[in-house]
Symmetry: C2
DNA sequence: CCGCAATAGAGGACTTATCATATATGTGCA
DNA sequence: TGCACATATATGATAAGTCCTCTATTGCGG
């Protein structure tokens, strides 16, 4: 359960509610390298509390619903540090487009190109989004040490999207038959 | 359950057993973009049969255990084609190293660098592996159409690994403080 | 002869992840 | 008034994925 450790990593900076974790972290940065939905976040917090890695207290909401704030315990921090220093498995990739391509013999090239173009526009959107994130990090209330690491994480995403887009363009070119024609006078 | 569709895509080429699917496909190519373990493959085959998307018959083993061969049905092929032409979600990435980096403020730089170097060697191994796959595809008994698409899928993996390695090197350089010193005589 | 690897399949137990819905409160807007 | 939206938490149901063990058979090497 590595979501536990991601959550603990965030709680370590400051105590937070499930809602905070979701809206401020998982909906923004975290989802690009460790997606998790609301239900999973809330249940993970409960699991952390059950294992003694976090405690919770309810803050009565001023003109708002009550907030259940989770705080990392000493045990939690120890476990976090242990995990953080431990070598982890390589990233897991699950890419339905590659399944489609791999089995795409059953389709016309034109259909494959349509799929590629569709993903291209969404990947491009994501890359545009990443372009804005650098400044968001700069304006974030955080230490320089944190900002430096966030920039590094962002750089990974940018590199990934750039590579993916380059590959998509290459694949589209090949499948539309734009590889034979050499540029220049015929 | 997109594993169903990946499996159907493979069954469409030729009827196969769970063992074939695992050893010939998931352990080799497929795992790089849609990992699945043995238990999941066997249960997915049962699910396909239950939904009428595949049928199975037992071939008595000649000097071997019996083989339960699964064949795609007409319904299965129709469903496969429907899915293949349908726009799919963007790839999901789950990268524990990025979680570690993102929360890595709790660690010394030297510890982070150790993590990065560790992953670097494994990513490099994977890239080396990819380098050999091109020729494997060429020698595979398949149509040119299939080979072309497999090469494209492989190119995606190569691009991904190259980008990841480049990022790792950059990150290691930054975290070891090798960004300030300009090369040249001191 | 013993153990090990390869071939082949099955299933229990569990964790992780997703989808949908329910609950409660206050604000702003049309 | 009526409804959408933001803030907050919770849970039921299901799907997907992982880990481990077990059953069989044959052939190979020591």
């Amino acid at each position: 359960m590595s979501l536990s450790h991601a959550v603990m990593g965030l709680l370590r900076v400051r105590p937070m509610t499930g809602y905070d974790l979701k809206t401020a972290w998982f909906d923004r940065s975290m989802r690009y390298f460790w997606p998790a939905d609301q239900a999973q976040i809330y249940r993970t917090l409960d699991a952390l509390a059950a294992r003694g890695w976090a405690t919770s207290h309810v803050e009565p909401g001023v003109d708002r619903p009550n907030r259940k704030v989770f705080t990392l315990t000493g045990d939690g921090e120890a476990e976090l540090l242990r995990w953080l220093a431990e070598s982890q498995p390589l990233p897991t990739v699950r890419d339905p487009l590659l399944v489609q391509l791999f089995c795409g013999d059953a389709l016309e090239d034109a259909d494959l190109v349509a799929l590629l173009r569709d993903q291209r526009s969404r990947h491009e959107e994501r890359r545009h989004h990443y372009e804005a994130v650098g400044e968001i990090i700069e304006r974030a209330p955080a230490t320089d040490g944190q900002r430096r690491l966030w920039h590094l994480t962002l750089a990974n995403g940018r590199g990934r999207e750039d590579a993916y887009l380059a590959w998509l363009d290459e694949a589209i070119a090949i499948l539309t038959g734009e590889d034979a024609a050499a540029p220049g006078e015929p």
